[in-house]
Amino acid sequence: MSNRHTLIARRTFLAGMNLAVGGLAVGFFSSDSLADEPTGKRSGPRPPTSSQAEESSAPGLNPNVFVHVAPDGLVTIVCHRSEMGQGIRSSLPVLIADELGAEMARVKIVQADGDPAYGDQNTDGSNSVRGIYEDMRRVGATARTMLVAAAAKRWKVSPDTCEASGHVVLHRPSQRELGFGELALEAGKLAVPKPADVKLRPKNELRNVGKPLPLLDGPAYVNGSAVFGADIRLPGMLTAVIARPSIVGARVVKYDASRALAVPGVKRVIELPAPKAPYAFQTWGGIAVLAENTWAAMKGRAALEIIWDEGENATYDSEQYRKTLSASVASPGTVLRSVGDAEAALSKAARVLEAEYHVPHLSHAPMEPPVAVARVEGGTCEIWAPTQHPQAARGTAAQVLGLPPEKVTVHVTFLGGGFGRKSKADFISEVVLLAKEAGVPVRVQWTREDDIRNDYYHSVSAQRLTAGLDENGKVVAWRHRTAFPPIGSTFGPVNRPSLGDLQQGVLDLGIGVPNIRAEACEANAHVRIGWLRSVYNIFHAFSVNSFIDEIAHARGEDPRDVLLEVLGPPRVMKTVRELGIEKLSNYGQPLEKHPVNVARLRGVIERVTELSRWSDRKKEGRALGLAAHRSFLSYVAVVASVVRNPDGKIAVDEAWIVVDAGTVINPDRVKAQMEGSIIFGTSIALYSGITMKGGAVEQSNFRDYRLARIGEAPRKIHVEIVPSEEAPGGIGEPGVPPVAPAIANAVFALTGTRVRELPISKALKT
């Protein structure tokens, strides 16, 4: 993570920033249609009508791009990460405000445009808090230091005798105080202190951190005023709906534009360039229909009668590919982890257990399908998009249009879900090309079918695990072979998981087995592969936790005891040597700072089994299953309670989740993420799967790409956050990986059916 903000010149605040929180500035509705609507009274994060220029010259204190103190005392804090449901806007700015000593009631939070001035804005990898916790504190502390200096100067006292809290600077010895607003202009004239001269507060002075904070955007979310990407409307804008190829690499041979143009409201039909491998963030190709409204565009698209050349991926078939992956993990792959001599230990073992696990492709399916709006005119481009990665959106648009990045502005709206889908800039490529070609603002609206059939899919995978047990049943050898087309295949000719890919739950797996071997096996991609919430951890955690449960049952012992035994004694692994690997990216953090801490993993297991009354796990009509996993530098254990409903369907009726993520800022949002992870994981375990036939996706909408509904989600979810002063770990993703194996293990305990392939609906009624 960078410390870039310390390098950023003063007075740049707001210059590159869009005050239109959620991306919409008042005045975008071209007609006066809203004038008499009750919606004229909108609450929530509405932008002021003032222009950026006006704001950028606003007087006051702005020591860096993230914070501004106005003479009226209003503190403006920039949230530079995207809000997609994780509550980042209710978390990160709080750190800055706490360091500053501001009252949250007098803080305005605005959303940053995409601009390298903010450092890394990629909202991905559960990285916002864990990556820049110290940086954000320093941002606030710098502004506080300057306010204190201004007050001390006025009172002619030492700054050390002053303190800042409650939106004032206080000189206790003389009982004098000055409001932040009163000091803003003077403080703004001072030199920005060097980082070394800025002291962070002791943690106990951070007033809001660690307390449940109100949801900043709650009111806007419940009154319809929150502006998502789909909600942007520009004057003269056309809506585009695109007929994309159903098979990756297929090309348009011919189509009938006249039939589409005959639909009232349809204005243009534009062919998009066919992409070439590697596909990265290129458009998907196909034919776009641009119309005055979405309905007309959809009708126009339906009339196109396109004939496609299917290309080389038309043979991709999930049933066949499952066999290909099985064959791949049946023989040795590239060895990426080696402790002791696993092969020798396996050949000498008293008993060898082996199992193979499969997880299908998954689609992100955020409730808001991909959508974006762009205006390209006079050598500039302005984009409004629900993007997780505004700088990638900017760079992609610049590249596609042949413009310098400075000429491209990306306004970040609220995201109606992201889960990794909206990190990809393919829909940005589409919208800027169409806006340029059409010469008017264009909105690209993906339908749900587009979304399910043209995603950057979570990778399909096979895992083959082999354990050697000694005469006492103790695991003495562990071999893990994993095969999945890696994300790298979307960006280059890659057909085997890399060292970096296997860090997610294979290389960093903290098991206390004397002989360990992990191998990456070949798998070719036939669709675009992308990262989906918790990524490869999904299938690695599923296979590892299922397999340990299988070992326990093979030994006739308590799965919890066997899990703890396989993990081994509480210990902290700080070197790659101990792990038996060459290197570990460790989610971008040094192993020294964030070691593989088996004690913490054991801790969440012990706590979750206590809370769920694990000893009582075999009650009439329900059974408990357990799983635990370290990912994104956090430790999570889950117990799922599975029942068979009167209609014969398997369901999860209750779940317990314990998370040790080190320091947390906003425990209520952490709790919400854990609840959401249980339900996201329930969908993966019981319902969801993308399959291919003839190169095309067989599913199309929520009818056949099933997600958990309210009556199918656990009735009760119990969350516990381990109190901790450790450096913060991730939150958005680490709750997901242990959920599916906990459910599968509970299913076995209840039914005796061992499910080694997800979703469980393939084997049992769900």
Binding site: S33, V222, L707, I710
Partner: protein, 153 residues
């Protein structure tokens, strides 16, 4: 064809394709973007509005069906965002990404009209058509009960 429809208490006259789904008439013609598109096939509930007080999925309801009728959207659920459900939603921190919540609220509001003290099963049944990918269901259930003045939940 001209369609006359009362939207959130205001008479509107629209000159649109009578087959245009109510959803797109609201979003694209009237600029009422609080009602969301999520699936287009009445599978996710994000587009739920009230037509003469009954919930309908606006994505599969042709605008002609609303001709001469009254439609309430999330923007018209309450004058100030103060419907007991909206208050409970904020108090309990229900929304994550927020995209599905308008539909959830419109369904829940119709439920409370009919059943002021709904059971868990009634809540589940009534909201079965409303997907939330973020997974806010347990808080949704709690917030419906809170709005209904049901304690102990």
């Amino acid at each position: 064809m001209s369609i006359r429809v009362r939207i959130n208490g205001v008479e509107k006259e629209l000159d649109v394709d009578p087959e245009m789904p109510l959803l797109w008439a609201l979003r694209d013609v009237l600029g009422l973007t609080g009602t969301k598109y999520g699936c287009g096939q009445a599978l996710c509930g994000a587009c739920t509005v009230h037509l003469d007080g009954q919930t309908v999925r606006a994505c599969v309801t042709p605008i002609r069906r609303a001709d001469g009728h009254s439609v309430t959207t999330i923007e018209g659920l309450s004058p100030d965002g103060n419907h007991p459900l909206q208050r409970a939603w904020v108090d309990l921190g229900v929304p994550q990404c927020g995209f599905c919540q308008a539909g959830q609220l419109m369904c829940a509001a119709a439920l409370l009209e009919k059943k002021p003290k709904p059971t868990d099963a009634e809540i589940d049944h009534s909201l079965a058509g409303n997907l939330c990918r973020c997974g806010t269901y347990t808080r949704i259930r709690a917030a419906v009960k809170k709005a209904a003045g049901m304690s102990g939940e």
